[in-house]
Subunit: 335 residues, 2 copies
Amino acid sequence: MKIMLIGFGVVGQGVAGLLGARPQLDIEIVGVATGTRGSLYLVDGLSPHQLLTAIQSGHLDHYPDAPGLRRNLDPLQLIRDSKADVMVECSPSNFQTGQPAFDYCRAAFASGKHVVLANKGPVALRYANLMGFAGDQYQVRYEATVMAGTPCFALGEKYFVRENGCPISDIRGILNGTTNYILTQMGDGMNYAEALAQAQQLGYAETDPTADVEGWDAAGKAMILSNVFFGNQLRRNEMSVQGITGITQADIASAHAAGERWKLIVQVTPAGASVQPMRLPISDPLAGVSGATNAITFKTPLLGDVTLIGAGAGRAETAFGVLADLLDIQRTLGR
Amino acid sequence: MKIMLIGFGVVGQGVAGLLGARPQLDIEIVGVATGTRGSLYLVDGLSPHQLLTAIQSGHLDHYPDAPGLRRNLDPLQLIRDSKADVMVECSPSNFQTGQPAFDYCRAAFASGKHVVLANKGPVALRYANLMGFAGDQYQVRYEATVMAGTPCFALGEKYFVRENGCPISDIRGILNGTTNYILTQMGDGMNYAEALAQAQQLGYAETDPTADVEGWDAAGKAMILSNVFFGNQLRRNEMSVQGITGITQADIASAHAAGERWKLIVQVTPAGASVQPMRLPISDPLAGVSGATNAITFKTPLLGDVTLIGAGAGRAETAFGVLADLLDIQRTLGR
């Protein structure tokens, strides 16, 4: 199976790393496109190791010459011209328009390719549209868009709903690692500013942490879950979204004294979604989720609550979600 | 797909209930065998509803006559003679010998049937043997043997190991609901005897609670996990097994004061397994698992710890695990 990568940042490099370590998988990278660091196409397959060496030295131009190698195609041209079976969209998410990733997906379908998204934009903002363009002919996967490689869609969508006809009535989750890390550190005595600074130092939080701490990253994931599980395309202004900036050390201490924990909780039902800090009793499986870890609870009529807890970010972790999608498509195609 | 049930207690009746509610599934019960309440065989398919009515009135003899209906075949005869695709073994588990379930499985393979086990005995005691007799030709599934229908094998064995080549290096779990219920109630102020009495009243604990409270039920599940994930057939005397009868209210209170919780923890590694009460910090996802709920943490090199929390018992919950196995076999057969 031949794949092409749109975007070659943390996730794309993680995918190359995993594939380089598992050559027996029969998944070949034939194309890579970046915004400002060049692009490459080689129908016989690019070397994951040399791709990583090139990008680590700053630009894909450093990839060694090879017969048939084409350089610096723009992404749309690369998508249209490349003989790849799957396009992996792992460029940065745009939560305003979902672009240019959405157009890349359309171009992928139009040129006969399945699509794997680590990019959250199209799945959050234009899911029905995306599935419409894919039609029955093309597969679309997006495991890494929520909880990185922790398999919330493989468990919730594929296993429960599709394979076993077990509906999901309600979803709750801790889907932003940065805020959970900050709340956990505040529980251990830090104030908000110290905890945020530490999260930034560890690479959990961006220099501008607004999207995380104001709840917008979590809201984007709520939109994805609403689309996938309930077929309900929410707009941002239809959700109540509240971050953690209003939580004080006194709030945290008062919760601890009552045997409770503050968590930034995403709630999604067929009727809508919200993001808000909530005090959970220790007996709630989500209350014990600490640090940058993520968690999701599916409420089902047959099995009751089923909770999945695991990594929500990280290079290898996110790349594993993409790889799982690729292998799932490979199985579907019977290869 | 035609199935036969060996055993028609809580689990078997749960399966009949689920199939009765979902006639679109194309899974037909053609045979049912019980120890002392009769057996039935009808190649055209038995009615789930009438099976439940008959057994609830005490004996399968109450099932109405029908052309071709055969009554009171013994289990081995029923297995050998019935035109079923799958045998479901859901009679009570025997942790001494795994019998007679193991011989029933052999007879099933010998007469061309796949096998689904809710019965833990053969999976705990003779897994390699079982898989050897199944060979490449017959499928064996056992989702309901650990955590009822909460999909610990679908997630750990199928998704991580088989489909995605992600090894599991270590497993920890809360796999006995009765003891977790008792420990949770003791945390809320009951003494051991009161908590046990309440567990018995609610149907979580048997009249003789020894297998639960001494850790032997959990040890049986440790043996199953050791077999499935590490190919290591443990004997009971090779495991350190300690129950919860030595835990006092003072122990519980002291753990609470330190922000910790006592849990009966199953640990399984490639080198062996143990069952013992442990004090876990609240930051451990297993610490927040309360009441009769079960949980399992898979340690993986790629994704770190992944924890699954859900029901570990119950009629519909266990039957759902069996149904998921049946649907998985159905997909494998391409029907």
